[in-house]
Subunit: 286 residues, 2 copies
């Protein structure tokens, strides 16, 4: 098991908190500095033994060899800019933000004395905050690494080792490709779920029995609607073109289905629904 | 615990099979006749002790006091029509179809010598068939009963007792209201999930890594897409007006969200997404 030197984790929500707990469980960091503005979170993290030192200021990252940014995307962008002055020579900046192009661009602007690798663990949940954090969060989950102009072989090796230490499976993707893919498998599903919850809520205003009847099907399909809105806004607004493209494709198909149902065109409908069913059943086999 | 006389269950898939298993577990039926065309299913049901007698013909329902129809909606409609000649005097016809207007209309056409109550247990799954059946399926689930012109007080009492015996909570709704509500909480979510699976599949044709990255968010949101297509076609085509109405409402909202994302209108977007998040979080509290 590798031992990492001093780590600073900036942001102790679900992702940052779980990273701290996972590293502590494996006992693989010499020292973990937890940084967040909320005093109560720092206290909770100290009490659970997730961190060794607590600070409410990014300045505390000055002594860290590895700085992990775990916050909504636009907050990460601010941190990267502030780290230009703060981070020590040769420090590695790693992030866990949900979109990667804007972050990799910002990392490319870091001084050459710093290292930087973009990261995105695919293990979001619709609950947020340190209280939801758990050491097992990253276990068997995909962890995307996106190289930057500040990614030496050594930097990528350290980032990969960190991700594997907490149980993740690493895949390297370039930032643009990452953002296209997550627009499809993560951001579009969120929009779809949120819009479903809103549509049914509007309908339910005239008939409260709706909520009594709503079963597991509705609950699962709408689950992502409960996601942290600030996090999702940062995601959508830093990936708006890809998301808009996917939404257009979704909308066009949705309109086709509506026409087929209205026209009672059973055969075409069967073909489309059967196709989608096959796709989804394949995923159940994995 | 009440004891029911001879029951015929027509259709031994997830719903009919689970009903047979639940009644056997509680030991509350004198005799259960299982009726389905598939010999292998009859054999499996006999072997698991779910039924006492097996038949591939609806004629076997002739000696039953209670006949439960557990099949896709349009198959149920055929069975109801055929039962006019087959069912004995005073027999109670109960169904577990997913839409209720067409079925209640058909039940209203039954001869006056028969009793009939529409039923819909809210416990669908995206898996089908007798092999997925389990005695606990109905436990703590809502079971909608829809009265018909053949529903005496006694008929409703028997139907309610049956539903409660297998652990369900009963709610009486008129058929038209039922169909409106399930269009919102069940049929719309299915379309939304199916369309998501199809959209992402189209995108994935140019980049297979998509399926590697797809995490629990995509899986949950698209889960219903794997539902039995024949069952869903029967549902959509016997509830097409309600479904089309809800789809129009969904589509309009979806278009608004797309515009807001494209225009980067953060404040309005925040308001809408926060509203949907609140709605969905409320459901988590229950």
């Amino acid at each position: 098991m590798p031992v990492f030197p001093t780590l600073a984790i900036v942001g102790l929500g679900l992702m940052g908190g779980s990273l701290a707990l996972a590293l502590k469980e494996k006992n693989t960091a010499q020292k973990i500095i937890g940084i967040t503005r909320t005093r109560a979170t720092l206290d909770a993290a100290l009490q659970r033994g997730a961190i060794d030192m607590a600070s409410d200021s990014l300045d505390a990252a000055r002594e860290a060899d590895i700085i992990v940014l775990a916050a909504p995307v636009r907050t990460i962008l601010q941190h990267i800019s502030n780290l230009k002055e703060i981070a020590r020579d040769g420090a590695l900046v790693l992030d866990m933000g949900s979109t990667k192009r804007a972050i990799v661009n910002a990392m490319n602007q870091l001084p050459e004395r710093l290292l930087a690798v973009g990261g995105h663990p695919m293990c979001g949940k619709e609950v947020a905050g340190f209280e939801a954090a758990e050491a097992a969060l990253y276990q068997n989950k995909m962890f995307v690494l996106t190289p930057t102009e500040r990614s030496t072989h050594n930097a990528l090796h350290i980032a990969r080792t960190l991700a594997e230490t907490i149980g993740s499976r690493v895949i390297e993707l370039d930032a643009a490709r990452h953002d296209e893919i997550v627009a499809a498998v993560s951001h579009l599903p969120y929009i779809v779920a949120s819009n479903l919850a809103a549509t049914v809520d509007e309908f339910a205003r005239t008939d409260k029995v709706v909520w009594k009847i709503a079963a597991s099907g509705f609950r699962d399909t709408s689950r992502l609607a409960a996601s942290d809105v600030q996090m999702m806004l940062d995601i959508l607004l830093t990936n708006s073109e890809n998301v808009a493209d996917l939404m257009r494709a979704y909308s066009r198909r949705f309109g086709e289905l509506a026409d087929l149902i209205y026209d009672q065109d059973e055969e075409t409908l069967r073909e489309l629904l059967e196709g989608a069913a096959q796709v989804r059943r394949e995923l159940n086999k994995e």
